[in-house]
Structure formats: C-alpha cells, structure tokens
C-alpha cells in the first residue's frame, strides 16, 4: 500500500490541474476556430471540385494545393514555421494564445477535407431534386446538403477534436503548457514515470470522452 501511495510522489496535482485546464482551453478555442474556418473551406472545396455545382478546375486546383501543402507539414514544423504569423496575429508565440493560430491552421485544412468528403457522401439525387424545385445554390447548401451531411460533419468534428488533442501536446514545444508539455518536461526529460502515467491517463480519458460525445451526437442526428 505504501509503495503504491509513494509511487505518485513526484506528481504535483496543482500542476496537473493547470495543465488540464490549458489543454481544454487550447482544444476548445482552436476547435471553435477550426470549424469556423474549415467548414466554409470544405464547402468551397466540394463546390469547386469536378462535376459539382460550381465546378472550377483552376480554383479547385489552387485551393487543393494550398490545403495539401499545409497538410504535408508535420505539426511540429508548422508550429515553428508559423511563429512570425502567430506573433503578428496574437502578439506572442508563447503560451496558450501562441498555440492557437498553428493549431487552427493545421486542423482546419484537415477538417476541410473531411467536410468535403462528408458532402460528397450526400446522394447526388438529393442535389438534383432540390435543383428541380428551383433552389438557388445557396439554398441547396443550407437547406439540403448541410442538413443531410450533418452526421458526417459531426463525426468529422469529433475526429478533428481528437487530432487537436494530439497537436496540443506538441504545442508544449512553444511553451503552450498543457498535459503534453507536462509529460515531456517531467515525464520524459526528468524521468518522472509517475507524471508520465498520470498525463497519459488524463489524455486517454479526454479522448474517450470526446469520442463518446461525438458518437452520441452522430446517432442522435442520423435518420437512416
């Protein structure tokens, strides 16, 4: 019993608490902006893509190139490449605020591709039927495509949120704090296995909670 109690000697629960809060703050803020940027971007990718409503080969190719280029960068590199932009946007490249721009840029391109796929899953017949009713392109998107793709988009948000949990851990590199930062500085660099175990468990619990909420929402909105 004693051994078990003393195993967690290095763990400063106040630190864990702060780190968890930082992680949640980064996750919440970046997820919000990711959806804000990535949803329209995904819709545009879908509309401009071949054989879709606003088919535009050149625009699609340009957009797809930028999205792919950003997605080619490992997040850790993106963090560093973006430092000047981040400083311009937030005034700092450090802390939670310094982590948000690279998190949003990295995740929204990923999310946009998932949205594009979710929209493509909607039966073409639905678009045709809505067109035949005399809908405008805007109406087709808001009244038919988005409602029909809602479960797919919620699933995309879930996957993106979980990817963001991973990204926030790396954001520790720019001094952003959070659970990942704790795991690297204490668990890895100071060989404090107990801190490592606690942060890992916290991250696992966080991901499980996100996935469960996502799945519940998808089920709730699926009518198939």
């Amino acid at each position: 019993m004693d051994v078990l109690l003393h195993y967690f000697d290095n763990v400063d629960w106040a630190d864990i608490w702060v780190a968890t809060n930082d992680t949640l703050l980064m996750l919440g803020t970046s997820l919000f902006f990711t959806v804000l940027v990535g949803l329209p971007l995904g819709i545009l990718l879908f509309l401009f893509s071949p054989r879709q409503l606003l088919e535009q080969k050149a625009t699609y190719a340009a957009l797809a190139f930028v999205v792919n280029a950003i997605r080619s960068l490992p997040f850790i590199i993106l963090l560093i490449v973006m430092i000047p932009t981040t400083v311009f946007l937030t005034g700092t490249s450090l802390g939670v605020a310094g982590a948000i721009p690279p998190l949003v840029v990295g995740a929204s391109t990923f999310f946009a591709r998932l949205v594009e796929t979710a929209l493509r899953e909607v039966d073409r017949g639905i678009i045709e039927a809505t067109q035949a009713m005399g809908a405008t392109t805007r109406q087709i998107i808001t009244k038919a495509l988005l409602p029909e793709a809602k479960p797919g988009i919620i699933a995309a948000i879930t996957v993106t949120a979980i990817a963001l949990v991973g990204y926030t851990a790396m954001a520790g590199v720019v001094g952003a704090g959070g659970l990942g930062d704790l795991a690297i500085r204490y668990g890895y660099q100071r060989f404090q296995d107990d801190v490592m175990v606690v942060t890992v468990v916290m991250l696992i619990v966080l991901v499980q909670i996100l996935q469960t909420i996502g799945d519940k929402l998808v089920t709730h909105y699926s009518r198939k």
Binding site: D123, E128, Q131, M133, G134, P147, E148, R223
Partner: protein
C-alpha cells in the same frame, strides 16, 4: 403544352462527342399523360431532364406554354422550375427531414407562403397521398411505396402544371407500382396536370398513358396514342416491349401454331367491340369453325381491348374474313 423543336444533346466524354439525343421534335398537349419508353441508355432520361433544364440542350428550342425555356436566365429558370414537379426512381427524399418537412421544402425554398400557410398546404397534400398519419416520421421509417407518395406530395407542393416522373415505379414491387400509378392517374384527372413519365415497362405505359413515344439510341422510333402503338406496333423495339409486357414468345408461338390446321388470324378489338358477340355470329353465318390459340382481354388506361389468335377451318373462309374486316375489328392474317 410542351414543345421540342429539333432539340438535341451531346455529351463530351474523354474528348469524344457522344450523342444522347438526336435532333428531336415532339409535342405534349396539356392534361396529357405522355409516356417515354426505352431501354437504359436510349436517351429517355436525357429527354425528360431537358424539359426542366437539369440537362442543358446542345441545340434546339424547348417551349412550355409558349414560353421559351431554353432562353430563360438563372432567375427565370428557378421560377419556371417551381411550376414543374419531379419525382424520381430512388425518391430522393431528405433523410434528415420529416415527411412533413420534405413536403414543405419546395414551399420553403420558394419563400412565398407564411409558415401557417405552408403547414396547411402540407396537411392537404399528405391527405391527398394518404399519408396524414406519417407526417412526423422520417423517410427511413417508410416503405418504398410510401416514400414515392411523399415524393409525389412534395412534387405537387407548388401546384405545378407539369409533373415529370423519372422511372417513378421502377424500384417498387408490382402491387405498390399499381397503387402509385393509380395515384398518378387520379392526380392527372383531378388536377388537370400534364404528366411526362419515363419507364422501361410497357405495362406502366398501358395503365396510365394517353400518348407514348418509343426511344432507341437517342431517337424516337415510334409515337402515337397508346392503344395504337400497343396493339399495332411497327418498329422492332416497340414490338419487343409489347411482347415483354404480354409475355409472348413469338418463336415459341410459331412452333405451336405449326401443328394447327387451317388459317391463322389475329383479331384485335377495341372499346365496345370487345364485348360484342362477333365470333359466334360469324361462325354461325359463314359455317367456319374456329379454335382460340391465344388471347387476352384487358384495358389500356380506361379503354377495354381484346386480342385473339384463332385457327379457322372449313366453311366460307373469305366471307368470314370479310365479316371480321367489316366489323370494328382489326384483322391480321398470320398464315
């Protein structure tokens, strides 16, 4: 009235021009049920979609009630499409919306009615298609026939003057097909709606259409009133469709008839003549004997018809033939 003047459509696939519809002229009168029949790839689906410009014509002119549809701009086209309902083989209902919301969608898109007016109209439409009890359900909870009824209610929401049916019964079982066709005929009669439908089943044409056009390889090969085309097909494609509908195998029939003595004739009756006691009278008066080799008595839309294949022996055969021809009966001598 829907008019096509030399309308054609060519798709460009992998650098090559593939004609889907060769220059076609055609006329559908108001209030008519006009059927287009053809195998898949015959161009019937392209022709149907040209009417509301889901397909853009490569050339020619399409007019609906003297309005040049081909000349409409985006706004004009949207307003025009609100006057043309459409139903589909796979229903194309929104899975995320209830039955009532699906039916309300065209009205919401048009944005001309208040919420209360839309609700009233939706209730009226669901009542017409017999789905009032299912308003709050989602399409996934309905059977195929019910889904198509929702599709019909949705297509009628904006009180269109034309209804386009794209293989509307092809995904349904025979019994459900009959009830959906019955509903379409009822709508045509009561709302004076012009219906253009495409199908690959002659039976669908026989049950509801007034006029039929048979398509093959992007060309209308035969066209006319259903009774005429159905009972006296001239083009090989039409003959094949009619045989499919009647489940007659001509080769098999010829083998059977080879063993039968005498002359073989096919008599086609239409309308009141179907019920006249012609055979017995003629046999008595001319002394011929007959045996019935094949026959059916049925309806084309509301008109009864009969078709009998007879072997005739003995008596005054020429007089009998003259009597048949003189009566309101179409006679073909097969042998």
């Amino acid at each position: 009235m829907i008019e096509f003047h030399n309308v054609h459509k060519t798709y460009r696939v992998a650098g090559k021009d593939i004609p889907a519809l060769h220059p076609t002229s055609l006329r559908v009168e108001n209030g008519q049920v006009f059927g287009l029949i053809g195998h898949s790839g015959a161009g019937k689906s392209t022709l149907l979609r040209l009417i509301n410009r889901l397909e853009e014509p490569s050339g020619g002119q399409i007019k609906v009630d003297d309005e040049d549809v081909t000349a409409l701009d985006a706004n004009g086209l949207r307003r025009f499409r609100q006057q043309v309902g459409m139903i589909f083989q796979h229903f194309n209902l929104l899975a995320s919306k209830t039955v009532a919301d699906n039916v309300a969608l065209p009205l919401t898109l048009a944005g001309e009615l208040s919420r209360r007016e839309i609700d009233a109209r939706v209730a009226e439409l669901l009542d017409r298609v017999g789905l009032s009890d299912h308003a709050k359900k989602y399409p996934a909870q309905l059977s195929g026939g019910q889904k198509q009824r929702v599709g019909i209610a949705r297509a009628l929401a904006t009180k269109p003057k034309i209804l386009l049916c794209d293989e509307a019964t092809s995904a349904l079982d025979p019994q459900t097909t009959a009830s959906v066709l019955h509903l379409l005929a009822e709508i045509n009669r009561e709302l004076k709606l012009t219906i253009v439908l495409i199908t690959h089943e002659m039976d669908v044409i026989r049950r509801v259409c007034d006029q039929v056009a048979v398509m093959d390889a992007g060309v209308i090969v035969e066209q006319g009133p259903v009774a005429q085309v159905f009972l006296h097909p001239t083009h090989p494609t039409t003959k094949r469709f009619v045989q499919e509908a009647e489940q007659v195998d001509e080769g098999e029939q010829r083998d059977v008839f080879a063993h039968v003595p005498g002359r073989i004739v096919r008599l086609t009756f239409q309308g009141e003549a179907t019920y006249a006691p012609l055979l017995g009278t003629v046999a008595r008066e001319t002394g011929v004997d007959y045996s019935i080799l094949a026959g059916r008595i049925d309806h084309i839309k509301d008109t009864p018809y009969g078709q009998l294949t007879l072997a005739i022996t003995g008596g005054d055969m020429e007089a009998a033939f003259a009597r048949f021809t003189a009566a309101d009966v179409h006679m073909e001598v097969l042998r």
